[in-house]
Symmetry: C2
Subunit: 570 residues, 2 copies
């Protein structure tokens, strides 16, 4: 049993919290808050939710993570891919803009919170392994493209819809005649400015004499300048009355307490999407957290991370938010700005709460095109085409899994994409696992070593075959083993001794045991003795609890050399 | 590409077919036919279908298998577990006794035929590995119990229903007052006779001077005596007018040509059951076929077996049958009776066709209680409780998978049982695979060998850690590797060199490559050099196509000894 205190990492780092840590955390919190305000509004809109939901999802979840999370620097909140997945799932059960849609987002956060927390308590973090790296990066790239395209309508000031590439392109093409020129100017200007902030601002700041780290951090707050300038422009030129869509009234105040709707039918139809949101969110978040922790030689505990992210989502569910996870860009900013403990996240939450209380009236005139531009710039950094070439060069089967994920995500949507990716990686893995590495071996003359007969000049004996299997024997490859042995026996009518060399066999499960018993009987029926050699200690201990050794037609040899020497010529 | 002829094993054995083979096959076919007539009627009733459907399912499928199958002695036809699964699936979409129910059975045969044939052409036989031995035997045991219980109502002459243990016990208990005494006498007498035939007849025949093999075969035809005597008793004492249920009119004639209903909704709802029927049928059949083939040093080809069983089911679908597979008991009889080629199956088909043409009027008075007794005796031989103890002793995780399968099958039905079994085995497998065997190693003094520091007295160097991983590195364990390395680095502040010893690593997939790159960067950030040692040739060839070697902060050493010698003291 884990001690209860292990579930509260705050008890660990909280004990040594002092004034200097406080100052570092506060500085980081201010910078992350400035960065997070436009981001959280933008991602809420991407999720099809009212803008304030993004702020609400950046308060309670951050506090929950500060208590339960194990990363010192992970910044939790709304992120692009999870927002897209929320939009996809919620719009399957309700119309965007309806109260049911907002309720569906709360249920997704609740289910996701329960799933993640449950997996953490049961220590099921290993299940995230089902998502291979190529599948995840293919999925993120494809989602990035879909997200960027989904925001194009806001830049153009037209209507468009759809969750797949063909639908989006079709609806964009149908409405492209209705482009609003002023919106287009605002959108393109913002895009250009934000891209320049990414590439051009930092060198400028460096030349102005700033230290590299400060130049970096200042450049990251670029979107806030875009937001401020755009608001002033809208007010100065009455752009909102000339067709430029603005955010409009955002309710002022702290997040409401919300109780997710108890509707069994709705819960059931949102369960699969919630599982996918949980797993994708967890995988992304853990890899960010691990990267940052390693830089300071710190550790995170993936199972406790599940609890941290789970409670964050529960926090979102009960305070009017929607599914959240650890974000890449903001965590890096948090880290670079000097955050030392998860308390920085709690201070960020206070900053966002202050914004929700006092800043929302100022955001009325914020053009949606500017938020769309911040999303596009953020997600295009997730799109990596070069990885396709790299993975193709490295492994064709991994490439197949990645390409399948990308195509299905683009053509059939995010949920089908993730499921395809997991299915393909798992099938390829099981296919490889069901054909373990193995070799017929012979004696290297003048030594006691045995090597693959196909690669080395080795000595063999007529009537004796030695098969070395280089993996544990389990139900995945048990059937392969039976077939392999029978094939070898059927091919050699003069065979009298079959030796299974177990030097690399770390495990024999009950299925493999039954296969070995079957092989023993079948070889016996065919007049061939079945021997084992170099069985490892723990494996042998187990075999001694079975009937195999009693029934064995042959013998168990400590060394392969001994087996070969004794059976040759018999 | 496989040559087309490989899809027709008949072209192989057919070439050397001669008179002596013909005689052997004919003798076997006669014995199997006698055994199969009551069995096929009984299993059709178990599947909830009219009795003649069992005969029809024992004609065309046997001919298809004779053409496409690779086992010389496998006897195909209706079997107990598949009949139960058919009943479960069909009664979810139609009422037993209705035309839709029979149509559903045809669709199941068709889907199962398409699935098996498709898997065979795509060479997906390895997917059957998802069913571990303990899961299959747990499932068979639980199904045997359910089948035996489902027949109890026929022995008692009462009504009862249900697909799970609790339902069956409840309905039996409710109706036990209505027992028909004459039916009970017929049923219990048949049961007693059939059990005696199994245990007591063979010794008697041996004492009467028969050879053991002939005594065995004669004992196997016992059910036919029971059937004959029961029919005579019914006619002599008018039992059918005194409450003993009989089979009644069976249409006379060859199987009808049937075209399965083209109803998309029905196909969809029968798809999952058809997959389960296909996989369970395939796994059972292949293991019987392998056991028998090995006795004569013959081989079967599992992928071609899929095609053999697939075409058998297609045959059943178009000739008024229902799902079929290779049966254990009848294949053993076929083998013992001397069948030499699959032609014996085709001759058996002719025997059954003759029975359908001429024998059905005689079967009118056959008591259903006798058929129920043959089923009970047959399936109770599938129930093995001793395996529970054996598997518990050998492996707790395999036991968990088996016990889960048994309980869910008994309490929630056959489909839930199979799915649970596969899910649990796969989860346990992935759990183990995600934590590969690995050890910190040190130098055995006076040698160039490295061994586990926990088990051997070995020499280590401060500031240098060597981790040996004993499995291929793939996405399943990539995350584990990252965590393991970071844990070791975080625990040793004086660390300067980390060596990953790859002597047992046969594979590094794209996910593991990315993990190695991440480890390399993270260790670099933490001021630790990352080295590889003893990388195998094919793995190294691949790594050279990646960026890892260029970015590596440390070096690649051919031997671990060289790595240790050069890094120690640096």
């Amino acid at each position: 049993m884990r001690p209860i205190s292990a579930y509260f990492p705050i008890l660990d780092w909280g004990r040594s919290y002092d004034r200097s840590t406080l100052v570092s955390d506060l500085v980081a919190a201010v910078i992350v808050t400035i960065m997070l305000i436009p981001q959280s509004l933008a991602y809420a809109l991407l999720a099809g939710l009212p803008a304030q939901v993004g702020l609400y999802a950046s308060i309670a979840p951050l506090i929950a993570y500060a208590i339960f999370g194990t990363s010192r620097t992970l910044a939790v909140g709304p992120v692009a891919v999870i927002s897209l997945m929320t939009a996809t799932a919620a719009s399957q059960v309700a119309a965007q803009g309806s109260a049911e849609y907002v309720a569906a987002a709360l249920i997704l956060a609740l289910l996701s919170g329960l799933i993640l927390t449950g997996m953490g308590i049961l220590r099921l973090g290993f299940l995230a392994n089902l998502l291979s790296h190529p599948v995840v990066s293919g999925f993120i790239t494809a989602s990035g493209i879909i997200i960027a395209l989904s925001q194009l309508k806001h830049i153009l000031g037209i209507r468009a819809s759809g969750e797949t590439l063909p639908e989006m392109l079709r609806t964009l093409a149908e409405n492209v005649g209705a482009v609003n020129p002023l919106t287009l100017v605002v959108g393109v200007t913002s895009l250009a400015f934000l891209f320049w902030v990414r590439k051009g601002l930092k060198p400028l700041l460096l030349r102005a004499g700033l230290k590299p780290r400060n130049a970096d951090l200042l450049a990251k707050t670029g979107p806030v300048f875009a937001v401020a300038v755009a608001i002033i422009a809208v007010v100065a030129f009455n752009l909102d009355q000339r067709g430029v869509a603005v955010v409009g009234a955002i309710p002022t105040g702290l997040p409401p307490l919300t109780v997710p709707l108890l509707d069994v039918g709705l819960w059931q139809s949102l369960l699969v999407p919630a599982v996918l949101i949980s797993v994708i969110g967890f995988v992304e978040s853990v890899s960010v957290a691990q990267t940052l922790a390693a830089k300071r030689r710190q550790r995170i505990d993936p199972d406790q991370e599940l609890i941290g992210l789970g409670t964050s989502n529960l926090g979102a569910a009960f305070t009017g938010g929607y599914p959240v996870t650890g974000g890449f860009a903001r965590s890096v900013v948090n880290f670079d700005a000097g955050a030392e403990t998860p308390a920085a996240g709690a201070y960020t939450a206070m900053g966002i709460a202050a914004a929700a209380l006092f800043l929302t009236p100022l955001l009325f005139y914020l053009p949606i095109a500017v938020l769309a531009a911040t999303i596009i710039v953020a997600v295009l950094s997730l799109v990596h085409f070069d990885q396709f070439r790299e993975i193709w060069r490295y492994s064709k089967s991994d490439f197949a899994a990645m390409a399948g994920t990308v195509f299905v995500t683009l053509l059939m949507g995010v949920e089908a994409g993730v499921i395809t990716g997991v299915g393909v990686s798992l099938a390829l893995y099981l296919w490889r696992a069901s054909r373990p590495h193995a070799a017929i071996v012979g004696l290297v003359p003048g030594t006691e070593h045995f090597r693959n007969v196909l690669r080395h000049k080795v000595q063999t004996e007529p009537g004796v075959i030695t098969l070395r299997v280089d993996e544990g024997l389990t139900f995945i490859n048990a059937r392969w083993l039976e077939e392999k042995v029978l094939e070898l026996v059927a091919a050699d009518p003069s065979l009298r001794h079959f030796i299974l060399m177990c030097s690399a066999v770390n495990e024999i499960d009950a299925s493999a045991l039954e296969s070995l018993e079957a092989i023993n009987h079948r070889l016996g029926d065919a007049g061939v003795e079945f021997h084992l050699s170099e069985v490892k200690g723990p494996v042998m201990d187990r075999l001694e609890r079975s009937d195999l050794l009693k029934q064995l037609t042959g013998r168990v040899f400590l060394s392969q050399y001994e087996a070969f020497r004794q059976l040759a010529g018999n």
